[in-house]
């Protein structure tokens, strides 16, 4: 990993996610700090990244690196946890039954991923799927149900959810800008995860594959 990526790209990218993750645009702009549970999920996600090799903390902080480089490493790790907490803050609905369901679902999913110990690529794909699904459910499905003016989507969902008290599902109606910001935030976050320094073995393996001619490439 280049020092530019470690000193500039990753911290600024993750801090931008931490900034945008709490922005909700309604009648006024509200900045929501991450709830405690989002912090718990962020720590578990960091554990998943380390275990899968998507993040190698020893490439960011170790005794052989100069102090300044280690300080950059600490900033990357701290900003990663902050960004992860805010990414979950974006993905989880603000209150009610959906909040409980999303929180439990994400918690179980992350614990399951941690136990399964998938490799880096699978973890990154999994994160993409988790955050895309959460985004669609919160900002398209739940937003349609909570839309006070209604619409075709709301009528369709009401027909599907016949018998469910909407009071347990509806959320605050935000302006469309909130959804766009959330999309940018989650895209930046997942891109940042892909830019994290992977475990050295994985990096070396990739490097050796690019050096070998195709017929001598090791079989996987």
């Amino acid at each position: 990993m280049t020092h530019i990526r470690e000193a500039f790209v990753l911290p600024l990218l993750f801090l931008t996610v931490a900034l945008l993750g709490g922005v909700r645009v309604a009648d006024r702009v509200v900045l929501l700090p991450p709830p405690l549970f989002a912090l718990v999920l962020a720590v578990i996600l960091t554990g998943v990244l380390v275990k899968s090799g998507a993040l190698a903390p020893d490439r960011l902080i170790n005794a052989s690196r100069p102090g300044l480089a280690n300080a950059n490493g600490v900033v990357v790790l701290v900003s990663l946890v902050a960004a992860a907490a805010q990414a979950f803050n974006v993905a989880i609905p603000e209150f009610g039954l959906p909040r409980l369901l999303f929180s439990v679902f994400l918690f179980v999913l992350l614990i399951n991923t941690l136990a399964a110990s998938p490799d880096r690529v699978r973890v990154l794909r999994s994160m993409l799927v988790i955050f895309t699904s959460a985004f669609v459910l919160k900002f398209i499905v739940l937003a349609a149900v909570s839309d006070p003016t209604g619409g075709r989507m709301k009528r369709l969902l009401l027909a599907m959810l016949e018998g469910v008290t909407l009071g347990t599902l509806t959320q605050d109606a935000y302006r469309p800008a909130t959804g766009y910001l959330a999309f940018i935030t989650l895209t930046l976050f997942v891109s940042g995860l892909a830019l994290l320094p992977p475990r050295a073995m994985l990096a070396l393996e990739r490097q050796s594959r690019t050096l070998l001619p195709p017929d001598q490439e090791p079989r996987r």
Binding site: F8, L12, L15, G22, A69
Partner: protein, 166 residues
């Protein structure tokens, strides 16, 4: 650029950016004027528009409370001046006060305004020396606004009709 120089600049940038994010989450400015005002207030460089404040005070004394608040908003766009926000809160009190009942919405806005005033006042203490006012401190005004928001058996007391607006 040398490796260590780039790392040091990156570290400083990240620290500055993180501090700005924390500041934004704590202050929650709603406009560019509020953001620049709060920033200049934090270094002690914030000044209100004295002419607009005088206009506001004139409207306030003439019982034109909506106009007064508009002028106060011009005088203190960042809502960082404790004295102006005190008058804004007082205007909500006077406009919302009623002999039979108080306007709950205006009183609630008054509480919000006095809270803003206390938040930006040094040490949270505000004393306004104005002979036109019957309450001179933020504590008195806030207590009066909060009392006005409460509902209870005392609302049925006929003696309430004889109370005076402060």
């Amino acid at each position: 650029m040398r490796d260590s120089t780039a790392r040091a600049i990156g570290l400083a940038l990240a620290a500055l950016y993180a501090a700005s994010i924390v500041w934004l989450y704590v202050r929650e400015p709603q406009s560019v004027a509020e953001m620049t005002g709060a920033l200049s207030a934090s270094v002690g460089a914030y000044r209100i528009d004295a002419r607009a404040f005088d206009d506001g005070l004139r409207f306030f004394r003439g019982e034109q409370f909506d106009a007064a608040r508009l002028a106060f908003a011009r005088a203190d766009p960042a809502r960082q001046d404790a004295r102006t926000q005190f008058y804004v809160a007082y205007s909500f009190y006077r406009q919302g006060w009623g002999r039979v009942y108080n306007d709950v919405d205006l009183f609630a806005q008054g509480v919000a305004a006095i809270d803003r005033a206390v938040a930006v006042a040094p040490g949270g203490r505000i004393v306004v020396d104005d002979p036109d006012l019957k309450m001179h401190s933020a504590d008195e005004l806030k207590a009066e606004l909060q009392t006005g928001l409460q509902r209870g058996a005392s609302d049925l007391n006929p003696m309430k009709l004889f109370r005076q607006r402060k």
